[in-house]
């Protein structure tokens, strides 16, 4: 109970942090195409104006692996939301929720990242709701 309460408070804090818009979300991503993907982190670009990370996602039927690129907020916004550059590391298994790119490429805007090992759920400083 206490843990849930604490988690709730953390979420309140995190969601109160302003998102980190830099470019038009709607020009690149489609909010009507949500996804939830689980994969293994292959690369993290902890850089401005947006942190990008890449995950290998295996197709359940064919076992074909696709490397997805995921956009988050800036390191500034993420740090204010409780992240550090080592919160997500290469090799970590993560579940990502967000919106897919309009162009059909394996690219997404991450809204929430769930770290499988710890169960930690992290707000990704997405700018999805800003336009």
């Amino acid at each position: 109970m206490t843990r849930h309460l604490a988690a709730g408070l953390v979420m309140l804090f995190l969601t109160a942090v302003p998102a980190a818009p830099h470019h038009s979300f709607a020009a690149e991503f489609d909010a009507s195409k949500p996804f939830k993907l689980t994969g293994v982190v292959t690369k993290v670009e902890w850089q401005n104006p947006h942190t990008w990370f890449y995950i290998d996602v295996a197709d359940e039927k064919s076992d074909k692996v696709t490397n997805w690129a995921m956009e988050m907020g800036s390191p500034n916004g993420l740090m204010r939301a409780g992240w550090t550059r080592n919160t997500m590391k290469i090799g970590d298994k993560v579940t990502v929720e967000g919106s897919m790119a309009r162009d059909g490429s394996p690219t997404g805007n991450a809204r929430v990242v769930l770290l499988t090992e710890t169960g930690q759920r992290l707000f990704a400083a997405s700018s999805q709701n800003d336009n």
Partner: protein
């Protein structure tokens, strides 16, 4: 869920900010006029607002109190067309109605955007459009601000500096008769306001720039900054209200209490709008705020993914039919 929590936070913030500080001295600044009534959050009386800090000579201090942290948490205001105020500093009545409707239903309303959606020029009849500025605004609305210069890591110009997120600081240097503003976001830039009484340069000496040429003076407790000399490379806001190099902005900064910076800007651009209009909003003080580094140009993949109206990359080689973007060498 997130929107609801934001709403809760907003109510808490409003309750905290809606105390009744003493009115600013000198200039008749309607700083409190636009704030909601106290006690809206439900519970008991809101905490009293802290008084406006002052420098030793009595001038309003728009920055930190010595020995403390703090920065102005610049809000994300996506559409300035929803922030017009009348001569009383209050939002225009017709706009208040539209804003309420937009907050209830429009995209962005829950996230600190302004609602209002993307109705283009005709959705903002209070803006004194010229035909061309209305057409450009419609275009920017239709393509979701795809060509926003800030997406290219170019700076905002004019009032958008106070509407692009991440904290900023105002540093008063009375001994050298100037004021410096530093912005973490908005491409990590600074601006200098000359307080030595100099005029704007004339003719060719006025070089068009993103931020323009700023001269300031105090009117009572209000810092009034007159800005001219803008180039045409920036937008007035994220939604894409255009401007020309005839843009003349008069900004008014006041601090009715420690936690509130009241910002007003009168936008006069006879190249784009048939008469001046004034926009205004409050900027909250973040007591523990400090600026971080933000180098927008570092890894701006938006540049490589952006395609024009014909599906071709803005930067880089043309694509073959069906070919997908590859990103900045990331994969």
């Amino acid at each position: 869920m997130r929107g609801m929590l934001l709403g809760v936070s907003a109510v808490i913030f409003i309750a905290a900010a809606a105390g009744n500080p003493r009115p600013p001295q000198g200039a008749s600044e309607p700083s409190q006029a636009a704030q909601p009534p106290a006690g809206r959050g439900g519970g008991g009386a809101p905490p009293p607002a802290l008084p406006t800090p002052r420098l030793p000579d009595g001038t309003v201090n728009l920055g930190r109190v010595p020995g403390e942290k703090g920065a102005w948490r610049v809000p994300y205001i996506t559409n300035m067309g929803m922030r017009l105020v009348g001569s009383d500093g209050q939002p225009l009545p017709e706009l208040r109605q539209a804003q309420a409707a937009g907050r209830a239903a429009g995209p962005g309303g829950a996230a600190g955007g302004d609602g209002g959606g993307r109705g283009g020029a005709k959705a903002e009849p209070w803006i004194p459009w010229m035909p061309w500025s209305a057409a450009v605004y419609d275009y920017n609305s239709r393509n979701n601000s795809k060509y926003d210069p800030e997406g290219y890591c170019l700076p905002p110009g004019g009032p958008r500096l106070m509407a692009t997120p991440y904290p900023m600081e105002i540093i008063q240097l009375p001994e050298s008769r100037r004021i410096i503003m530093i912005f973490e976001g908005a491409t990590h830039i600074w601006r200098e306001i000359y307080m030595d009484g100099r005029p704007h340069p004339n003719g060719e000496a006025l070089n068009p720039t993103y931020l323009g040429h700023s001269v300031g003076r105090w009117e009572g407790d209000t810092l009034v900054i007159d800005v001219v000399g803008f180039n045409e490379n920036s937008w007035l806001d994220y939604f894409g209200h255009p401007h020309t190099d005839k843009l003349h902005v008069v900004e008014r900064f006041s601090r009715p209490n420690k936690n509130t910076l009241r910002y007003e800007a009168t936008v006069n651009d006879p190249g784009a709008y048939t008469r001046p209009f004034t926009i205004a909003w409050d900027v909250p003080w973040e007591p523990n705020g400090e600026l971080q580094e933000y180098i927008c140009q570092e890894n701006n993949q938006f540049l490589y993914r952006l395609v024009d109206d014909f599906g071709q990359p803005i930067f880089g080689p043309r694509r073959q039919p069906g070919e997908l973007p590859t990103g900045a060498g990331a994969r």
